[in-house]
Symmetry: D2
Subunit: 371 residues, 4 copies
């Protein structure tokens, strides 16, 4: 019988984690009379002497608007390091963790995380601890769910940054480049580029030509606009194949200095003779209070996760589809990353309103505008 | 052959109208080489001497972050008044407008509006002017689309208002009531109530008992919380049947003084002996710069509307479904209002986390929490 | 010898109270090794069985961005009611409170409040409990200090509200009225009117003529602007002497329905034939997270109050003058309210940029502009 | 006789420039019946064929909330380059500019700028063109004025960034470093460090010891706080004398990659064994819409500058002192930079609440706190 739920938050910080925690606790305790135990620092809290604490409704009071996670999180942490070090048998490591879960009286787990964290979580499910996953990826790159919490807040921040850069770009006749997150998927760059009125959007899925960026800048000058705004995802690559992203581990997203944004600034400055400046948004995209939508989605995910558990589901992840929460098998959720399809509507819309992706065939788009 | 698109914005102001205008113009002119003519003040601009002006890409520069509509709008305006006055034959009124469209060289219309505006628009379609509709309702109450632009921005504003009221409520041991929009559909109250951590949510779809609100306030006192937060949609009604909303015309949403919010404040104050205060958000919900999501959705809608027209579609409305834009027949779009279903997931989630809807059977929910 | 400081917050909520509490505790405990005891609910916590609790640095962690006061506050509360009821001798009431302070081991008081609260505080000082005051008035109407915390945040909120109303006013050709706080002093209306680009500003210090408002609306129409924005302080009065503000007790500021804003809307609508709508900001102005300046000022006030106490000062209030904190006698601080002088620079600036105060002699100002 | 005012904006972008332009135009045209001519791109618009345009009230409509300057600006630009190149006589360059002013019919200049721009401006005054200066420095480092517009907005942005970094720092047990502007003066770092709850603040005026930063991080760990927040001004220097700032020209403030922030991150990470991450705010601090205070101050400065001119003043700068605008001689305004005095109240307050400046003698401060 299900009496105690363990709660784990893993991977990078995202606005809404605390809102999920609050909803899980309120639903589990208030609606179903269960206990909730929070594990600290992702799976790391299950190594050695377990680090965990009971979570009551009083503990989650005031948590809704607060960013971050009161449980702490790790991008990889010692649990993953151990698994990968080869010094220990994976089986032994998992067994120790499962043993700790039992010591804590935990009957089932709700795990908040992205691809990496949920992969680990599904292992626990396989080992007999029922798991319900809650998707967490600021990049919104999980195929199994339309949307993840935190993404909208990240868009608000990136869009506001673009608004700010606009005035400086225009006042100084500059090219301003904003580097945003997105190593493999360009959703943040694409969405905020559209919302922030960018002239050029560079994403990992569409290799770009530096020359075509310069062409766009010149085209705008021809129309009397002496400035241009470029959004570049950290994982964007030039057509020629030079990759400016150095891999930093599976879930790590430091604000990389000397990354693609700065490279674009230098090259575009050189090619156009204009002042070009780069700002790297970095961690500003993933911290802080979630916006209204993210609080709602996080709450809905958290509450739905408990309900799924009470219905006897396991090895599934809650997901958003057509404005409803449903569940999908964890295995499926992990298997497929959602990248921006070349033929997506948003790409089409962006091109139609004159945004350039700086592809070699860029001239074929939006050609009627005569300023 | 399609050469000139007429553009009309009708109904109440909503954040994102200008972003749609911008996307229509950029797409129509830049991608397809069309002309765009903006009609002023909704259909009113088609009465008598037409009021309209060409819209070029230069005219829509800088429009993305700006709230409102540069074309002006009317809630009902003289066009509808004429139709309803009975002094003129409807047919004559429409013929005059169609004649004006022809004088302006307009081959087809893109019309932004809610149920009322789109009903008028579909009449033009019937009269031979191809029409593509773009849904606009701050209440998000059109069944044919998952989401309309402006709604998310309204949620941000309501949620921020709730955050602000929280601190005052808590510091003064008060009951604070926020009255938000929603005459027939409680989406704004429901969503922002969840996002803003309300204790009680009152919506038109679920008649409430004043006594049950007081019970919730007392329950919270029993748990040591001397304050409570209530969100009430302007169209919420008591179970007993007393309706505090006086109808003010089809699309009008003045911040009603002496409305339901103030009534709740008075009665709850009386029943609980606590200080109770009401704030009516009113027009603050519908003006101002759209947030990132609304800018993106508005842009996508505007651009997709032009593409639909170029594909030869007519008598349809662009709509969001499962993260994609599709088209639905205008007739269908108008026919069905989207209200909050009693068995919706969000209602369930709200109850599960302890939110009260103050229904007579309220005691049956969330009963395990012991503070 | 000073060992324990009592801390009291009184009067209406204002953004920054918690920031002051945090600074007092951190400075007193960390820098001077003192104890701090927080009294609950203003002076009410000193009636009967005292309600108070020690405050340590751990207790004030995370408090800086949080609005409100963790100590609770009262506008008047039972302490003042008792004093005014006449049922008890004031002396007896104060003696009971002083006795409670001694029982709590409190050697001196830091009191945060406005005119009313500080008047009570100075009585304690007279009775032998050294008091340092910290000014708190969202209206910024204390003559002894250039600025109080909370005021800037209120301006941000009012200004953002005006930005939002602008787009709706412009799209609908309306007159939009925003009613803000300010019963006796029009600082919020004046400042936010200038910051929000209002066309007409109505403040208690300058009686207005309804007819002159209408003239301004017509003047704007003559220049092609079909909309106007009006900011009105709740205490504004017509020249003719009709006062629309009903007094609600000394420190109470409920968002009054049926107040001056609505009256202006009705009359201006009637006089101009235009749609006129009113929004009453009410409590939204005083809750929520303080902005950067208010956090800084609150922190500086709190810390300076402790330092003043350690220097042996008493019966004084910390105050801002020329970018520095200094102290002024409490008696002086209470004695004089700061209203907007008719010849103030801001009034002059407002008139010079074309803002109307709707005075009978309004035509004499800003007369060269020909649109 | 004064009939036409020339208007120039120079130096880096700052929120509020457009608000000053609007106030100057509205006051000069509307109140005094003057003409205003805007010179483009700072003094560059006076080289060769002058680039300038008349500014009417219609031209400045809607400008109040917009960041940047519609006149364009230059940090140094071709005017300064020419002066410094030595290829031309300074006298010849100025004469050409003065000649251009005469051709444009300009009788006097209002110049918005910082030290550099105002130095150039005072030269024009010496050459017989009456000049009124308006101070503009995002760093707030002009001694002659208490405050400059743009500074408060920059503080809001930095403080919000710190709020966001807090949640990530806490969730990941990290040291987060925010690098803000301030090459010679640490006002932004000091103010926003206090407002954003930083643990360590590093400013140019107070050389720091890397070791002492690490000590603070350890001290916090000892109290159970596994994270720390550091704000560093771009011009901060280590005690040992290693300067990480490479001069980039007089008024240039690119978001420097590989600057002091990253250096601190690396070293503190190394010394403490903790994850340390740096975000460089860069241009985000100086673009975008001004906050309420900055709009008010900018409007007041602009309007007061015209009034000063009408009073016959020249060679002066408007300045804020004790909540009033006054004028100071340009020579005096340029002569003295306002840096943070070691004995300033804010430094004292910061230390008193436990902020470390990482000086070698740091242990002497705030020593009583025992967590």
């Amino acid at each position: 019988m299900l009496r105690t739920i363990g709660l784990i938050t893993g991977g990078g910080d995202a606005p809404g984690l605390n809102a999920v925690i609050r909803a899980v606790v309120k639903t589990a305790v208030g609606e179903y009379g269960l206990r909730v135990v929070g594990i600290e620092d992702s799976f790391e809290g299950l190594i050695g002497e377990p680090r965990a604490r009971p979570l009551t409704p009083a503990d989650v009071r005031g948590l809704l608007p607060r960013g971050g996670t009161i449980l702490g999180t790790r991008n990889r942490g010692r649990f993953v390091e151990r698994l990968e070090s080869g010094a220990h048998q994976p089986k032994a490591i998992y067994n120790e963790a499962v043993e700790n879960l039992r010591r804590l009286g935990i009957d089932a787990l709700i795990v908040l995380g992205g691809e990496g964290t949920l992969t680990t979580a599904s292992e626990f499910d396989r080992l007999g601890i029922p798991v319900i996953g809650v998707p967490k990826t600021i990049d919104n790159d999980l195929a199994a769910t339309e949307m993840t919490f935190g993404f909208m807040t990240a868009l608000d921040i990136s869009t506001e940054a673009l608004d700010r850069l606009h005035t400086t770009a225009e006042s100084h006749d500059r090219v301003m480049i904003l580097e945003v997150m997105g190593r493999h998927a360009g959703w943040i760059a694409l969405h905020s580029g559209i919302s922030g009125g960018a002239d050029v959007i560079l994403i990992p899925e569409i290799p770009f030509s530096m020359r075509k960026i310069a062409d766009k800048v010149f085209e705008r000058e021809g129309c009397g606009s002496q400035f241009s705004i470029i959004v570049v995802a950290e994982g964007a690559k030039e057509v020629e194949g030079v990759e400016h992203y150095q891999d930093m581990g599976d879930d790590e997203r430091a604000p990389r200095l000397g990354g693609i944004g700065q490279h674009v600034a230098q090259e575009v400055g050189r090619l156009t003779g204009k002042e070009a400046r780069c700002v790297v948004l970095g961690h500003l995209q993933r911290g802080g209070s979630p916006n209204a939508f993210d609080r709602m989605l996080a709450t809905n995910f958290g509450s739905a996760a408990v309900r799924a558990m009470m219905r006897g589901q396991r090895g599934v992840m809650v997901a958003l589809h057509a404005a409803n929460i449903r569940t999908v098998p964890l295995a499926e959720a992990i298997a497929k990353r959602k990248t921006v399809p070349a033929d997506s509507q948003l790409i089409r819309t962006a091109r139609d309103i004159g945004v350039s992706f700086a592809t070699p065939d860029e001239d074929e788009y939006h050609k009627h505008e005569t300023c």
